[in-house]
């Protein structure tokens, strides 16, 4: 199958953002097809991933996150030989976690967003790495459950160590994440907690953060 150029994928993405109705649907599915093609690099080219991809893009669209610039960057790099598919999978996981905070999606779709984020994350974490001592940006994002944008920022601000390889992609030494030997929570447990708490509070009328702190102060 012919693969679109990075520029073509961005044009497709922009066109989908601008389109309405059935045209938007068609363009979104074309993007989903591109994504599913790229998953071949992760050995995930199966029907269920096609479904996962479409559902993920639909959720991001409904949450208003489809136009995220970080998603555009990942779509551009989708077929890059070094970790393009990982980068997108990790970004989808990060953005789906953000989508889980969008109340208008409703409780079940927010919980489902967390579940899908976990699935994308597991795909990235579970794959074989040619160089186990080094992680990609997608690996780090998946490991900690953040977007790739966050990891780029950490690298730029030198909050974590990393060097650029010959092709410009980042190589992040894995050892830096093992230095802190204190007990740590697992991302799996935190994902499961997110889903539990969304269910616990879902549908109830919660106070705003400002209200919450005001109530705490008033009770003193």
């Amino acid at each position: 199958m012919e693969i679109l150029s990075p520029e073509d994928r961005v044009v497709l993405w922009r066109a989908a953002i601008d389109a309405d109705g059935s045209r938007r649907e068609a363009l979104m599915h074309a993007i989903a097809k591109e994504v599913v093609e790229s998953l071949g690099a992760l050995d995930l080219y199966e029907d269920r991933y096609a479904q996962l991809t479409i559902e993920s893009l639909e959720t991001l669209d409904d949450a208003g996150l489809f136009a995220s610039d970080s998603l555009r960057r990942c779509l551009e790099a989708l077929h890059a030989p070094r970790g393009g598919a990982d980068l997108l999978a990790a970004e989808l996981a990060g953005l789906l976690r953000t989508a889980a905070d969008v109340e208008r999606l409703g409780v079940e779709r927010r919980v489902r967003a967390v579940e899908m984020a976990s699935q994308w994350r597991e795909h990235v974490i579970g794959r074989r790495r040619p160089e186990p001592a080094y992680l990609s940006v997608g690996d780090v994002a998946a490991r900690f459950g953040v977007t790739t944008q966050a990891v780029y920022k950490w690298l730029q601000k030198q909050r974590i160590e990393g060097t650029r390889g010959p092709g410009g992609s980042w190589r992040v030494p894995a050892a830096q994440f093992e230095r802190d030997t204190r007990p740590a929570s697992t991302r799996e447990r935190l994902d499961s907690l997110q889903a539990e708490l969304i269910r616990l509070h879902g549908g109830s009328d919660l106070p705003s953060e400002a209200d919450l702190t005001e109530q705490m102060r008033a009770a003193d």
Binding site: D61, F66, Q149, I160, L212, M216
Partner: protein, 204 residues
């Protein structure tokens, strides 16, 4: 970046599990090198007390909602590394010590000496003078947050409390909100156009 979280952050994470407070606690609990976050024993105790005894009221609700131990358990378990007594930082004073100092018959000067171990000259020296905290500007019930942060080497206090956020900095400690800190760490996706965020998808 060593960060002291106060009770407002725990409450925010508990109520909004996909929001900025949760994201910060999750980074701390996973021991990421970008954020060395902690809570003190007083903050942990305050969270428990408020959740089980005091509760919170949603808009239009007359009775505060409290939470059972079973409802709190998953939260405490997932963040066990922060709540476990062995891992929890210690605050040098409780949240009611400042408030009730008068009840034990001490003058304010004696109280400060007892808490800090410093005499009058030391308290009025430059270190004290660079701390802009006054009894008018800070709720004494929140003094434990500042003391806990100082005692445990925090560079930042993260809080949603508007009174605390009146300060940009207290001495060497920067005061910041959860939203500002998540933005600083790149956890907020600020690249999406506002037009798209408000748009209701109509493609299906």
């Amino acid at each position: 970046m060593r960060v002291a979280f106060d009770t407002t952050v725990l409450w925010g994470a508990f109520h909004r599990p996909a929001g900025p407070n949760f994201a910060l606690l999750a980074l701390a609990a996973q021991r990421t090198p970008v954020l060395d976050g902690f809570i003190t024993d007083v903050v942990g105790g305050e969270f428990w007390w408020r959740a089980t005894q005091q509760g919170v009221k949603g808009p239009g609700q007359a009775v505060p909602r409290t939470y059972s131990e079973q409802e709190l358990e998953p939260f405490l378990e997932a963040f066990e590394v922060l709540f476990e007594p062995a891992n929890m930082a210690r605050a040098p004073l409780s949240r009611s010590l400042g408030r009730y100092a008068g009840l034990v018959g001490l003058s304010l000067g004696e109280f400060l000496h007892a808490v800090t171990g410093r005499d009058r000259e030391a308290l009025l020296s430059s270190v004290t003078a660079t701390f802009p905290v006054t009894f008018e500007s800070m709720d004494l019930a929140d003094l434990h947050i500042l003391c806990g942060a100082l005692q445990n080497g925090a560079e930042i206090i993260c809080s949603s409390d508007s009174k605390m956020l009146n300060y940009d900095r207290i001495g060497s400690i920067r005061i910041t909100s959860p939203v500002a800190l998540t933005d600083e760490l790149g956890l907020i996706d600020s690249s999406t156009s506002s037009a798209e965020v408000s748009r209701t998808a109509s493609w299906r």
